[in-house]
């Protein structure tokens, strides 16, 4: 009999020296994909009963705490973040609360890889791969949105001012990681955007 074991998509990969931001993979994150109508009161109250928090209904926002966080993905789709060990338990609670309500909840913990980028210049580094203006006030902590990053689909979550999580589909993990490693090298630091010192 073969044994099922979890291996993270970026296992054994370490960031090269000389990066302007710090980079690591988050491996212990459980993710649940939740779909249902945001205008359906029965759906909203059932989810609140199971999770103990209101779903974020405003576009590109999230709700919750570090342990249990819900990201808005669309008008009818949310991504629930929790510790990997808790995912099965939360999924079961959700499914039993949502019995009879038109909805869908699936454990997608292994669907995406999570890359955490931290440091002063991380917005500028990410902006090399996307057309979004990440210096805009909209991208404050708690904001999340899907984006086109280095030509692939990604999900961006602003954790703190200088801490970003980038979610990419598992098969793209190595590509996204290598892209960030290449663009985050210290000599490649961008000083074009935002507040700058006056030239001497």
């Amino acid at each position: 009999m073969s044994e099922l074991s979890h291996e993270s998509p970026l296992a054994g990969v370490t960031p090269p020296p000389g990066l302007s931001v710090s980079l690591r993979e988050i491996t212990d994150r459980g993710m649940i994909d939740l779909r249902g109508h945001g205008s359906d009161q029965a759906f909203l109250s059932a989810v609140k009963g199971a999770l103990g928090l209101d779903l974020p209904l405003r576009p590109r926002t999230s709700a919750g705490s570090d342990d249990l966080r819900v990201l808005w993905l669309s008008m009818d789709q949310w991504l629930i973040l929790c510790p990997r060990t808790k995912a099965a338990e939360i999924l079961a609670a959700l499914r039993s609360a949502l019995t009879g309500v038109h909805s869908l909840a699936v454990d997608v913990s292994d669907m995406r890889a999570v890359i955490r980028i931290e440091g002063g210049g991380c917005r500028e580094v990410l902006m090399k791969g996307t057309s979004l203006d990440l210096l805009d006030a909209e991208y404050r902590p708690g904001c999340c949105r899907r984006m086109r990053f280095a030509e692939i689909a990604a999900l961006l979550s602003v954790v703190e001012d200088n801490v970003f999580d980038v979610y990419v589909f598992r098969s793209y993990a190595r590509y996204a990681w290598d892209f960030v490693c290449a663009t985050a090298r210290e000599p490649a630091r961008v000083r074009l955007f935002g507040a700058q010192d006056a030239p001497a």
Partner: protein, 117 residues
């Protein structure tokens, strides 16, 4: 470079964050009366498109946002977007009034049919 704004989630961005889905308001004849679809109707549905110089109506998808389809009215000469509106909606009345040629005919027919219904 086109700047597109999704009317569903309000995301505004570069055209590469969106996906152009061709001409808007194309109706599949078989959806309404499958038993009586003429070859001409099916041909028009599959292949015949309006290709105006000026105001045009298109489908777009908020590809890197909420993932929803929506409609846009765009001028093919100036590339200016005149309106973004929902996938089940008709354009705002003032934009319909600007439509010319085949689009003007289409909307006149469509509005008349909706009034009768």
């Amino acid at each position: 470079m086109l700047v597109v704004k999704c009317p569903v989630c309000g995301a505004e961005g570069d055209e590469t964050d969106f996906h152009a889905g061709g001409q808007a308001h194309v109706r599949r004849p078989a959806s309404h009366d499958p038993a009586h679809v003429s070859d001409e109707e099916q041909r028009d549905y599959l292949f015949i498109r309006i290709n105006p110089k000026g105001l045009h109506f298109e489908r777009w998808r908020c590809d890197r946002g909420c993932g929803k389809w929506f409609h846009a009215a765009r001028d093919t000469v100036t590339l200016e977007f005149k309106a973004f509106y929902g996938i089940t909606e008709l354009p705002p009345a003032d934009v319909i009034a600007e439509a010319k040629g085949q689009w003007a005919e289409y909307f006149a027919k469509r509005l008349k049919a909706e009034k009768q219904a």
